[in-house]
C-alpha cells in the first residue's frame, strides 16, 4: 500500500506541475501584455510600463513563473490590481460559502442516491424500480437552475419559510448562514442524487449478479445481507469513481446555483474577475481549483487501493 500511495503521490505532484505550467502559459503567454490588458485601451504607454514594472510583469516569463509558484507555496496568491486586496483573503472569504454548499450538496446527493439506487437495483423489472428510474431520468433532465428557481418559489415565496436568496455571513449569524444555504444545497443535492442514483443502480445490479454474491448466499447470508455486506462493498469502487467526477463537476454546478440564489461564492468571484480583467486573481484562483480537482483524483486513487486489494498489489 505504501508503494502504491507513493506512486499516486508522484502522479499527483506531476499533474499539478503540468497544470501550473499550462495555466501560466495560456493566461500570460498567449494573453499579450498583461499591464495593457488590465489598464484598458486608453492607457498611456508610460502608465502601462509603470504598472508592469511595479508588478514585475516586465521580467522574463520563466522568472515570473518561478516567482508565482514560490509565492503560492508560501500562501501568497498575489493581489488584485484594482482593489489591492490579497487573492488569498478574497478566496478564503468566498470558500466559507462555496465549501459548505458543495460539500453538503454532495453528501445530500449520496444520502439519497445510495439507498434509492440500491432499492432500484433490487426491484429492477418491477413497477417500483421503473418508477424510480423514471424519476431519476427526470431529475437528470432538469437543469440545476430550474430546480433552484422552483424550490425558491415554493419555500421562499409561497411558504415564506426560507430566504429566496442572498447571504448572511457566518460571523453575523450562523443560523442565518445555514438558512441561506438550505435551498441551494437542496437544489444541488437533488440534481446530484438523480445522476448518482443511475450509477449506484447499475453498480449494484452488476455486483448482484456476481458469483461471489451467490457464494455469500450459499454459505448462509440472506439475499439482503449478501447485497449489503458483500455487494455494496464491491460496488464501492465504481461509486467512488463517479463521486470523484461529480466533485469536479460541482465547481461548475455551483456557478449557476450561486447566481440563482445570489450567494457570494468562489465561482461567481472568478466570473466577476474575468470580466474585470484581473489576470492575477483569475490565474491563481483557477490554479487553486485545478489543484483541488487533481487532489480529489489523488484521494480517489488512494481509496481504490484501500477498497480493492487487487489494485494496491498491482502497484
Amino acid at each position: 500500500m505504501a508503494i502504491y500511495a507513493l506512486r499516486k503521490l508522484a502522479f499527483f505532484l506531476g499533474a499539478v506541475f503540468v497544470a501550473s505550467l499550462a495555466i501560466f502559459l495560456l493566461i500570460r503567454g498567449a494573453g499579450g501584455n498583461v499591464a495593457a490588458i488590465v489598464l484598458g485601451k486608453d492607457a498611456t504607454a508610460d502608465a502601462i510600463n509603470a504598472l508592469a514594472h511595479t508588478y514585475g510583469l516586465d521580467r522574463p516569463l520563466p522568472v515570473q513563473y518561478f516567482d508565482w509558484i514560490v509565492n503560492m507555496l508560501h500562501g501568497d496568491l498575489g493581489q488584485s490590481f484594482r482593489t489591492k486586496e490579497s487573492v488569498a483573503d478574497l478566496v478564503t472569504a468566498r470558500l466559507s460559502v462555496s465549501i459548505p454548499l458543495a460539500l453538503s450538496g454532495l453528501i445530500l446527493g449520496l444520502i439519497i442516491a445510495i439507498p434509492v439506487g440500491t432499492y432500484a437495483a433490487r426491484n429492477v423489472g418491477k413497477p417500483s424500480g421503473a418508477v424510480l428510474a423514471l424519476i431519476s431520468q427526470i431529475g437528470i433532465a432538469v437543469p440545476v437552475f430550474w430546480a433552484g428557481i422552483l424550490l425558491s418559489v415554493l419555500f421562499g415565496v409561497k411558504l415564506g419559510w426560507l430566504p429566496t436568496g442572498g447571504w448572511i455571513d457566518w460571523d453575523e449569524s450562523p443560523v442565518g448562514a445555514i438558512r441561506s444555504l438550505v435551498l441551494p444545497v437542496l437544489s444541488l443535492g437533488l440534481i446530484m442524487a438523480a445522476v448518482l442514483i443511475r450509477y449506484v443502480r447499475s453498480a449494484v445490479l452488476d455486483v448482484m449478479n456476481q458469483d461471489y454474491v451467490r457464494t455469500a448466499r450459499a454459505v448462509g447470508m440472506t439475499r439482503t445481507q449478501a447485497l449489503l455486506q458483500v455487494g455494496l462493498r464491491n460496488a464501492a469502487l465504481p461509486i467512488v469513481t463517479i463521486v470523484g467526477l461529480q466533485i469536479a463537476e460541482l465547481i461548475g454546478g455551483t456557478v449557476i446555483i450561486e447566481m440563482v440564489f445570489s450567494l457570494p461564492g468562489l465561482s461567481r468571484m472568478i466570473l466577476a474577475n474575468v470580466a474585470a480583467r484581473e489576470v492575477i486573481v483569475v490565474q491563481s484562483t483557477v490554479m487553486l481549483i485545478i489543484v483541488f480537482v487533481i487532489f480529489v483524483n489523488f484521494v480517489v486513487d488512494l481509496l481504490y487501493g484501500v477498497l480493492d486489494p487487487r489494485i494496491r498489489n498491482a502497484a
Partner: protein, 331 residues
Amino acid sequence: MQTNSARPAIEVRDLVVGNGDVTAVRGVSFTIPQGGRMGLVGESGSGKSMTALALMGLLPMGWSTRGSILHDGVDLVTQSDRALSSRRGRTLSMVFQDPLSSLNPVRRVGDQISSVIRRHTGADKRTAEAQTVELMKQMNLPRAEQLVRAYPHEISGGQRQRIMIAMALACYPQLIIADEPTTALDVTVQKQVLRLLNGAVRDRGSALLMITHDLPIIAAMCDTVAVMYAGRIVEIGPVQEVFRNPRHHYTRGLLDSQPTMDNIALDGSSRLVSIPGMVPPLHALPTGCAFNPRCPAATDKCREQMPELGAEALRAACWHPLAKVGEVAAQ
C-alpha cells in the same frame, strides 16, 4: 415416523424449474440417502446446474421452482429466503465451478471461511479463526497460518478451490453439491482437488451430489448416477451397472463419446464417436422423447409419447431400451 438416520439426505420429487418462458428442469425426481453419492451428468443446457441451484434456493432472479425438495424434515421449496439461508452452509452447501469469481475479491480468504463458522455456530472470533486454520490444514493448504491473510487473487486456482471446499464443509453439512468443481482448474491439480473433496466428504459422512460431464469422475466418486437430457432424467441407477450396461441410447452415446486410450488413435484417424445433432433449445423441444431426433432407434411412438422413468426394473426413460448383455432387446 422415520428415524433421523434413515431419513435421506435429500429427496427430490417432480422438480420443475422455469422462468415463465422456458422450463429448464421438467419433472426430476431422485433420492440421495445419508452419506450417499450421486453423480448428475449431461451436456450443457441439460438442466443439471439449474437442478443444483434449485436445491440450494439460489436460482437467478425470475426463476421459480415447483415440486418438492425434502431435506432435514422440511420441504425446501416452501421455505422463505431467510429460512433457507439458515440452512445454506450448515445442512446443505455447494462448491461452485469457478473459484476465482466465486470468492469475494476484497476479503481475506481466512475471514471468508471463519465468517461462515461464526454465522452458523455462534463461535467467537478467536475460536472461529483457530478452526479456520485447522480446516485449511485439513485441506492440505500450505502455510495455513499465513495463507489466512491472503486475498483470493494472491493464491493459485487449486488453493482457491480448496478454500471454497473448506467454506462448504466448515459446518459438516448433510449434503454437499459440487457443480463441476474442477472444470476451471489445471488438469494437474484436478485430481488432487477431487481426492481432497472425496476424503473430506467421506470424513464428514456427508452425502454428495456431483455434477459433471466427466464420466470417469462419476465412476470414481459416486455410487449412483443420473443422466439428464433436456431437463429430464433419462436414466438412473448404480454407477457400475449404468456405465457397463447403459439402457438409454443417450447414455450409450455419452459413453461412446468419452475419449479413452482405446479410442484415441495416435495417427489422427480418431475413432471417437459423437452423438449426431445438438441438444434441442428449451423453447423448441420435440414432442415425445426429447432425444428422438438424435436417437438411432427412434420410432413413431418416440415422436408422439414421452417415456417416463419406470419402477426399479425400468431404470431408463426409453421406449426401446438397449438390451442387457446376453439378453434380446424388448421391441
